[in-house]
């Protein structure tokens, strides 16, 4: 018989308002095995925890039930508390009378009644709890960062600085990500490349960082501290170890008509190319979709001109098997496609561009060498219209995204400002729903655009853009002026919403990390654990978790790195002791459990058992590896004889809860 203590928490008024905590602790005091029962304002406070410890000693409690908030919130807290008082951590059960009771019921009577039942269930379970001791599993001291943008680079650098080896897997031929395509950064207007490329070089030179570019993660197995990852290194047809990055091949290649993705197709590159001058690694890659040699077997110019003899048309994809202790997702974002927004004539006129394309048009390394020219006729535009929230903040969402993309207001202010600065003869209009400028020096920045640079900010949405003899007829509403505006623009710039990279969803599935409905990774806790995924050992860096600007991304990247370092700094991880174990006397050896185990934690041995009348029987029985078992319980149901049971969630315990609830 257990000696159980019951501790009912008011959670200030969160619980006490709709649950008569006194009545609850009184009612539960009458339950069999309960020797002490009380209630207190904040059980999780130091004072509350002290009381629990005190009572454990005073009454020699060997079971504790805390009626409080969700176990997902404070189970760990109270387990530690009890452990300090010499009680095994797994002799504690939480009755969730806040999230699942006081917060969803208005009527105090109902709430109280339900709280008592939930308490009873927890007590019934504790009666059957047994002390559990956690096993340990070793930590592989190596991290994987998926995505080589500013987020991934920063995370990798910070981890590497702490002395742990990191692999960066980047699907493009170079790291750098979106930031490489950006011209200047708000609110300081300093050059993006100037601050990014040194970091890229640092990453390349750091002996703890290994960049696996032009590669993608193919499969992830294992668990925290012990992931097994297969990485597909796509064939570049260029030997990285030999290529010097001289770029001769990219000049001689006869295939000139390849849209240059770095400039978003605003100009062309060759079939063999180096994405941009500061690429890391600075190694050419052959685009198999355009290379005549690879397609027809005729050409081979690049291999002739390559003095380093780095060209290798026979190169194949390479599959790397690596082991990691932690994984960071830093898969970043993409602007959404503009197809669905034909009212802005994006597909009809080359002079309607997205903001990112505009970045390239403004960029010295861009298609126009940094002078702003209309893509259609290369003339200098005089009237520019910036359209905000294209695809952002769309209710319904069938067309765009329900969320705010967060960065558009600021980069548009930047664009407008830069345009006016470089070309004072231009008229710049910005159509907006709201201008959102929270952030250090953000609002000042926006006001400078309006006040010092005379950018015309118009509250209202653009209804239609019609290309008409070389002009773009913009039809918009001015909500404040209460009038319809008709502007003959030379260029229209669309602030396209941003969405998670397409590779994020399949990756999340591989990582068993959950995602929200917009395919952003969900964090373990929206406030308290923003850079961790609910899946242990998987961390989140940058825009893959939600829209972010550069400073935020870098900050989160560092935070993720800190978490990874904290994990890798451990030699052993204490495993979850709530694992399956098989009662060999009842095991049939039928392998059903082994088949459903996702971790391969179950193995079989032939064992001799004492049979009746001093005989021995050899039987095949299952054995569970507690370090590998993650405690899902699939095996317990697959096992017909019930030989397989789950510690902490045993058949008996769950049925006891059922009984208590249905009583």
């Amino acid at each position: 018989m257990q000696k159980i203590g019951v501790f009912v928490c008011w959670c200030g008024s969160n619980i006490a308002a709709t649950v008569d905590v006194q009545a609850v602790s009184d009612a539960l005091a009458k339950e069999p095995g309960v020797v002490f029962s009380t209630n207190y304002q904040y059980m999780c406070s130091q004072a509350g925890q002290d009381m629990i410890q005190e009572k454990i000693k005073e009454y020699g409690l060997n079971g504790v039930v805390v009626c409080s908030c969700s176990p997902r919130m404070h189970e760990a807290t109270f387990r530690k508390t009890c452990e300090k008082a010499g009680l095994n951590a797994y002799m504690v059960e939480i009755a969730n009378i806040r999230e699942q009771c006081s917060w969803i019921h208005k009527d105090k009577e109902t709430g109280t009644e339900k709280a008592i039942i939930l308490g009873r269930a927890a007590i019934a379970k504790v009666h059957l709890n047994a002390p559990l001791t956690a096993g340990t599993s070793p930590v592989i001291k190596r991290a994987l960062v998926i995505g080589g943008g500013i987020a991934g680079i920063q995370t990798a650098l910070d981890i590497a600085e702490a002395g742990f080896p990191v692999d960066i897997v980047e699907k493009k031929p170079t790291i750098g990500g979106k930031m490489t395509q950006i011209d200047k950064t708000f609110p300081t207007l300093d050059c993006a490349a100037c601050i990014l490329t040194p970091k890229m070089v640092d990453a390349a030179q750091n002996e703890n960082i290994n960049i696996i570019s032009y590669a993608e993660v193919e499969s992830v197995k294992g668990f925290v501290g012990n992931f097994h990852v297969a990485i597909r290194k796509k064939a570049r047809f260029v030997d990285e170890s030999k290529c010097t990055g001289c770029g001769l091949c990219t000049e001689k290649c006869p295939q000139k008509k390849v849209p240059n993705e770095f400039n978003l197709g605003l100009d062309n590159r060759r079939a063999i190319y180096i994405p941009f001058a500061q690429a890391v690694p600075k190694v050419a890659a052959i685009d198999p979709n355009y290379c005549t040699m690879l397609k027809t077997g005729k050409c081979g110019v690049c291999s002739k001109v390559c003095t380093a003899g780095a060209i290798d048309y026979t190169q194949k994809d390479e599959l790397l098997e690596r082991e990691y202790g932690a994984i960071v997702a830093a898969t970043g974002f993409e602007p959404i496609s503009m197809e669905k927004f034909d009212e802005f004539a994006y597909s009809q006129s080359p002079d309607v561009v997205t903001s990112l394309e505009f970045e390239r048009l403004m960029n010295a390394a861009g298609p126009t060498g940094g002078t702003l020219l209309r893509p259609s006729d290369g003339t200098h535009p005089h009237t520019l219209v910036f359209v905000q929230c294209v695809g952002s903040r769309c209710d319904g969402g069938e067309k765009g995204k329900p969320y705010c993309s967060k960065i558009c207001c600021m980069y548009t202010a930047k664009h407008a400002m830069l345009t006016r600065e470089k070309y004072p003869d231009t008229d710049v209009y910005v159509f907006y729903i709201d201008v959102r400028t929270p952030g250090k020096n953000f609002d000042e920045f926006y006001r400078r655009a309006v006040e010092d640079y005379g950018v015309h900010y118009v509250k209202g949405m653009v209804g239609k853009v019609v290309p008409e003899n070389g002009k773009l007829k913009v039809q918009a509403s001015d909500l404040l002026g209460g009038q319809q505006l008709h502007i003959d623009a030379d260029m229209v710039v669309l602030a396209a919403a941003i969405e998670p990279d397409q590779t994020a969803r399949p990756l999340a599935t591989m990582l068993t990390a959950s995602m929200d409905t917009n395919d952003f990774f969900t964090e373990a806790h929206p406030k308290l654990r923003p850079v961790e995924s609910p899946t242990a050992g998987v961390f989140l860096s940058g825009a893959c978790q939600g829209p972010k600007d550069i400073p935020e991304t870098v900050a989160q990247a560092g935070a993720a790195a800190a978490k990874v370092i904290g994990l890798l700094a451990k030699d052993q991880l204490t495993c979850n002791p709530c694992v399956a174990n098989s009662n060999e006397l009842m095991c049939n050896g039928c392998s059903a459990c082994e088949k459903v185990c996702p971790y391969g934690a179950i193995t079989y041995v032939d064992k001799d058992f004492r049979g009746p009348n001093r005989t021995t029987l050899r039987r095949r029985v299952a054995q569970v590896n507690p370090a590998v078992c993650q405690g899902c319980g699939a095996c317990t149901v697959a096992c017909p004889s019930g030989a397989m049971d789950l510690k902490g969630f045993s058949n008996a315990q769950i049925m006891a809860e059922v009984d208590a609830i249905c009583k």
Partner: protein
């Protein structure tokens, strides 16, 4: 066939293996599974005839663990159980010499009795009608009426995984074995409930169905295990009747080869095979055709899945007009 089987049994015995077969009883129909260890025994008591319904495969769990080899005669349907048990590592194959025996369907003495024939002393005639000798003179019955239900809708005459075959290797048959299940499915829930109450309320929890079932070969059955939470010795009320049969059917789901022993041995003639067949039918319909014991490789449906498996709500949608 009787003679061929007997002759082979003797050869096997003399080659040094114990022989597991059917032993004659007081009457012509009450044959008992037995291990034969001497030639005389076989000559005197070994039978293989229309009343050798017993499925020998389950005995192999124990027999194959003993010293030396055991020879066994298996009817086509028995071979499915035989293979399923190997799949579950229950039979030590190396200690077994399996002889497949082709079968043209077993008779069921209970079927003859239900035809109102009393005091049965003997049966002969292999044709379409049987002559039954009784205390009250001779009676006749159509062979099909004397046939065991499971044989009337035999699913396969294929003999699997045997070391040798007596008689022609057979084929899988497209049997009408799901007809009764469909009939039940077509009923309203109330009718189904009434039907099963009537049947299951007769259950006396003698465990014959469980103990004869090759799939029910657990070292310790949950219903005998005081710690399982469902242990019970008698069906105290309608709930426990349901509980026992639902859980049993569930535990053998995807493993039951539909050998029909459960229904054969039920002293209360509860059509237990209709529970197992329901699962088999569902599995076939929802997850693609699967026959337990048909091969050694395929993953049993309950330890397997497809990403696009139907949702549990299909149950609600099916026949939701009711």
């Amino acid at each position: 066939m009787q003679e061929r089987v007997k002759a082979r049994a003797i050869e096997l015995l003399e080659s040094g293996v114990r022989v597991l077969g059917w032993k004659a009883g007081e009457f012509f129909y009450d044959v008992t599974p037995a291990v034969f260890t001497s030639r005389e025994e076989i000559e005197k008591e070994f039978v293989f005839g229309p009343f050798c319904g017993a499925n020998m495969s389950k005995y192999l769990i124990a027999e194959s663990r003993k010293e030396g080899r055991v020879g066994v005669f298996l009817k086509p349907c028995d071979t499915y159980s035989f293979q399923q048990l190997q799949k579950e590592h229950r039979i030590w194959r190396e200690n077994v010499y399996a002889v497949g025996v082709q079968c043209e369907g077993m008779c069921d003495i209970e079927a003859i009795r239900s035809a109102g024939i009393k005091g049965i002393l003997g049966v002969d005639g292999d044709g379409s009608t049987l002559t039954v000798h009784t205390l009250y003179g001779d009676k006749t019955i159509a062979r099909k009426d004397a046939l065991a239900e499971r044989c009337a809708c035999c699913k396969s005459k294929k003999m699997l995984g045997c070391d040798e075959l007596l008689g022609e290797q057979g084929e899988e048959l497209d049997s009408a074995r799901f007809d009764q299940v469909e009939k039940l499915e077509a009923m309203t829930p109330d009718e189904r409930f009434a039907f099963w109450r009537k049947e299951l309320s007769r259950c006396i929890r003698c465990n014959a169905c469980r103990n004869v079932c090759p799939a029910c070969s657990c070292e310790k059955c949950v219903f005998d295990n005081p710690n399982s939470g469902v242990e019970n010795k008698a069906a105290a009320n309608s709930f426990e009747e349901n509980l026992f049969h639902i859980i049993r059917a569930f535990h053998v789901a995807g493993r039951c080869t539909d050998c029909g022993e459960c229904s054969r041995v039920c002293p209360q003639h509860i059509p237990l095979h209709l529970l197992n067949r329901k699962f088999i039918k569902d599995i076939n319909e929802l997850y693609g055709g699967y026959q337990a014991g048909a091969d050694m490789e395929t993953r049993p449906p309950l330890t397997n899945f497809q990403m696009d498996d139907p949702e549990p709500s299909v149950v609600h949608e099916r026949g939701s007009e009711q």
